[in-house]
């Protein structure tokens, strides 16, 4: 197991290197530059100013030279300073990542808490009212755009009922219980949508497993139905669910820009989006690199979870 983990970590090195080239290259291909952002639309633009700013920000150097310098620093976890805010990138990212991880993790946990029981019962009680309810609910969840569901939640729970704040963020480290008030609506918006996908997946996986011979054998041996379902079948059926949930979590870490805007949530997705608009190269590069590494690590963790769920799965 340990050898496998070390081997997988070693395999991450070329993946991350390719990622750095891709991140740096794509950012270079963006039209416009930080000089355009700094000059803005307010005037005062001239060739001299552009040249001075380009030199100030190192943009007068060849791209490979800038890549080498950036990679060298990134390997030492030094991403430099934001070209726009002029603050250390690490500070910018560290102030954003916890908020995003908090939201994404709670959203995914919430989705699994909804989806796994619902999908399991839908499969076990196939073609009953429970199954139909689960299927309709998941269909609605998939069909409703996330942002629209979020706005409905805000209108109902914030404006009309006044139970929860409509937007904002409080760090759980500052005030845990206070932070939950701000977390519930965005996490519910994420959780409901993701649960819709995961419910369908869990249901179909369970149906697949329930049709296998080992389930019939277990039942024939007289094992209690609850044990057959939860001890054996569900555990096997969880592998695709865990895979998808892991990927959903990785996706959510950078992909909640719209929800972050609606709930004024200071996440990393919005920070990278704003950085792209402003051509803040170091922040874009560092942000995407960090998210990329997180995705790679999430994949590794998902693979390792397979082994936990089913010891017969070979990790070699």
């Amino acid at each position: 197991m340990l050898a496998y983990i070390l081997r997988r970590i070693a395999q991450l090195v070329p993946v991350v290197l390719v990622l750095t080239v891709a991140v740096f290259g794509f950012v270079e291909l963006l039209p416009g530059s930080i000089v355009d952002t700094l000059i803005g639309t307010e005037g005062g633009d001239d060739a001299e100013t552009r040249a001075v700013l380009a030199k100030e920000y190192g943009l007068d150097r060849p791209v490979y030279e800038r890549y080498a310098i950036w990679l060298g620093r990134a390997l030492q976890f030094d991403f430099g300073h934001s070209l726009v805010t002029r603050r250390p990138i690490s500070t910018e990212l560290l102030s954003r990542i916890p908020a995003t991880v908090y939201l994404a993790a709670v959203g995914i946990v919430l989705s699994m808490l909804i989806a796994i029981p619902l999908g399991t019962f839908a499969a076990v009680r196939r073609n009953t009212s429970v199954d139909y309810t689960a299927q309709v609910t998941s269909l609605v969840g998939i069909s409703i755009p996330e942002f629209w569901f979020a706005i409905l939640c805000v209108l109902l729970f914030s404006l009309y009922l006044g139970w929860l704040p409509s937007s904002g963020y409080v760090s759980p480290l500052d005030d845990f219980w206070g932070s939950l008030k701000f977390l519930i609506l965005p996490a519910a918006a994420i959780g409901f949508r993701q649960a819709a996908f995961t419910t369908r997946l869990t249901r179909s996986s369970m149906l697949d497993e329930l049709s296998k011979e080992y389930v019939d054998t277990a039942r024939a041996m007289g094992l209690p139905e609850r044990r057959v379902i939860f001890r054996y079948t569900l555990r096997n059926a969880m592998i695709p669910t865990v895979t998808i949930s892991g990927l959903q979590l990785a996706n959510l870490l950078g992909g909640t820009v719209v929800l972050e805007s609606i709930f004024a949530w200071p996440g990393i997705g919005r920070a990278i989006f704003e950085a792209i608009l402003q051509r803040d190269y170091p922040l874009i590069q560092a942000g995407i690199l960090v998210l990329g590494v997180i995705v790679v690590i999430m994949n590794l963790l998902v693979d390792l979870t397979y082994r936990f769920l089913n010891p017969r799965v070979k990790l070699a």
Binding site: S33, T37, R86, S167
Partner: protein
């Protein structure tokens, strides 16, 4: 008010000086700005105001970044040599008085004794000189800010409280350019923390900032201004900026009681909100110095006279195809007004003697388009995606031009891409807007004068007569004469059509009626102006 009494420039500032010195003798009685270090606080007025804004600053260094009056909470920390009142008239701030030499090439400012930066450092002549030199450094100062000071050749110190600006050319409106937007003062001793914890001299002190999330500021206890009873301003204990980019998210947060005050109520929401919630929330239409327009690319392409002999005909056809009333209703929901020049009737620079642009006439537009060379060729409209009204205006103009038979395409672009296209001349029409040109020279000398870098970069307009008028107006002391000169330039613009003015940009604010007291916005936006804005606001309950 007579035309003479409205005159700005050195004559007006001498009167201001006399008024100010008189006022200083009895500041506590008459309520004009009093001596610095007026620590007596109003016993009942305070609280923390939560302000929801559409935008946020991109960085903290107030020289590197433009800190907009409207929508950047950080504006509350800024202050400068000159202040202005709710009519946008210049008033003493850190500078108690000022005067220009007869040739308008030297301006002398006398500083308020005891005025301080937020860290307690005295604002003296050396610190003002340091600020101006730092802003003028192209590696540091924002391009717009530097352009405001482009005529300043050097700054000298006469004594601790007297600073002198030496100009390359005569300039009748330097004082207005030195208002804290954008020339705000920061403490020289705290320059190392300009990007992390800025130290300025406005009514509020910086506490913390997380971009697009929160800006926390606290009352500056030694701010120089007092109210009529001699209580020091501002009243508020603290101000919290809560940028929320989406207009309806901001409005919802106000209605849910999470914010006390918001800017930029969406045009589509404003009338219904006022009607349905007028008893619970105050709404204010903010007088604006913002104007939307279409810039035409005269540097190259179909609309450029040097590339197309019928370019002017095409521009006329476009002007006839644009239904200003349609823009007024569809984009601005009937708020604000159609513009025929840069300054609205709310501004003292407004003139009704401007010859209008070609009126909406679809048949005429079609006929001119058919007649003109290039009338069937494809051309590009670009619009910035930052402000909804710019892209909405672009969309509706695109539809109007299609109605007139033009082969137009529309591109909605982020600022860097748009600037790139503008620099390369890859557009024909730019749906845009401009604001806070506090003196007309700030507008005409940047966007109409043929030698101005911004005009050359963006439009490429050249009219000898307009250039003469702009140069002459800069040297003219008489305000009425200046206004007429600028009106004449506007007439030339509306004839030549390097741009087509469309609409004055309205701004609607809303606040909790029960909690927000003493507040009224002005031209300067929500934060700060002499005797008003956030300085005289307090929270109840």
């Amino acid at each position: 008010m007579s035309a003479e009494s409205k005159n700005r420039g050195p004559e007006r500032t001498r009167r201001s000086f006399l008024k100010t010195t008189t006022a200083l003798a009895g500041a506590g009685l008459v309520g004009l700005p009093g001596a610095a270090r007026a620590n007596k606080r109003h016993p009942k007025r305070g609280g923390t105001l939560r302000f929801g804004t559409r935008d946020d600053t991109v960085g903290l260094d107030t020289h590197r970044n433009i800190i907009y009056f409207v929508s950047h909470p950080l504006a509350a920390i800024t202050g400068g040599l000159v202040d202005f009142d709710d009519k946008m008239e210049p008033k003493p701030a850190v500078a108690e008085s000022w005067e220009a030499s007869p040739d308008l090439r030297t301006w002398t400012f006398r500083l308020r004794r005891g005025a301080e930066f937020h860290n307690g450092q005295t604002i003296d002549a050396e610190s003002v000189k340091w600020n101006i030199e730092r802003i003028k450094d192209p590696k540091i100062g924002h391009a717009f800010t530097r352009s405001v000071l482009s005529d300043v050749e050097r700054v000298t110190v006469d004594d601790k409280h007297t600073v002198r600006f030496h100009l390359k050319e005569p300039h009748a409106a330097l004082d207005i350019n030195l208002i804290y937007y954008p020339v705000n003062l920061m403490a020289p001793g705290a320059v190392d923390q300009a990007d992390t914890h800025p130290v300025n001299c406005g009514p509020f002190k910086f506490k913390s900032w997380r971009r697009l999330d929160v800006t926390e500021m606290v009352r500056f206890e030694n701010f120089w201004e007092t109210d009529a009873e001699g209580n020091s301003l501002p009243y508020l204990d603290a101000l919290t900026g809560r940028p929320k980019k989406e207009d309806r998210v901001r409005l919802t947060a106000l209605r849910a009681g999470e914010l006390d005050l918001i800017d930029n109520v969406a045009y589509a929401d404003a009338p219904a909100f006022k009607k349905d919630h007028g008893k619970t929330f105050d709404t204010w239409p903010v007088p604006q110095v913002g104007t939307a327009m279409l810039f035409f690319n005269l540097k190259k392409g179909l609309l450029a006279d040097k590339d197309n002999p019928d370019a002017h005909l095409l521009r006329q056809a476009i002007a006839h195809a644009v239904d200003h009333e349609g823009i007024h209703q569809a984009v601005f929901n009937g708020l604000g007004a159609i513009s025929k020049g840069f300054y609205s009737s709310a501004s003292s620079w407004y003139s009704d003697g401007i010859e209008s642009w070609p009126a909406f006439d679809l048949d005429k537009a079609k006929a001119l388009r058919k007649k003109a060379k290039g009338g069937d060729e494809k051309f590009t409209i670009i619009a910035n995606d930052t402000f909804p009204y710019m892209q909405q205006s672009g969309e509706i103009v695109h539809a109007m031009l299609k109605d007139a038979g033009f082969n137009a395409v529309l591109e909605i672009l982020p600022t860097p891409v748009m600037n790139d296209k503008i620099a390369k001349g890859e557009f024909n029409i730019d749906s845009t807007a401009n604001s806070f040109r506090l003196d007309p020279d700030g507008w005409f000398a940047r966007n109409v004068l043929s030698t101005a870098p911004e005009n050359r970069r963006r439009i490429g307009y050249a009219n000898e007569k307009a250039d003469q008028l702009i140069h002459a107006a800069r040297k003219e002391r008489d305000r009425a004469k200046r206004r007429q000169m600028y009106a004449d330039v506007e007439t030339l613009v509306n004839r030549d059509l390097p741009m087509l003015y469309t609409h004055y940009v309205p701004l609607m604010m809303a606040g909790s009626h029960a909690r927000v007291k003493g507040y009224a916005p002005s031209f300067t936006g929500p934060f700060s102006y002499s005797g008003g804005g956030m300085r005289r606001t307090w929270i109840e309950g």
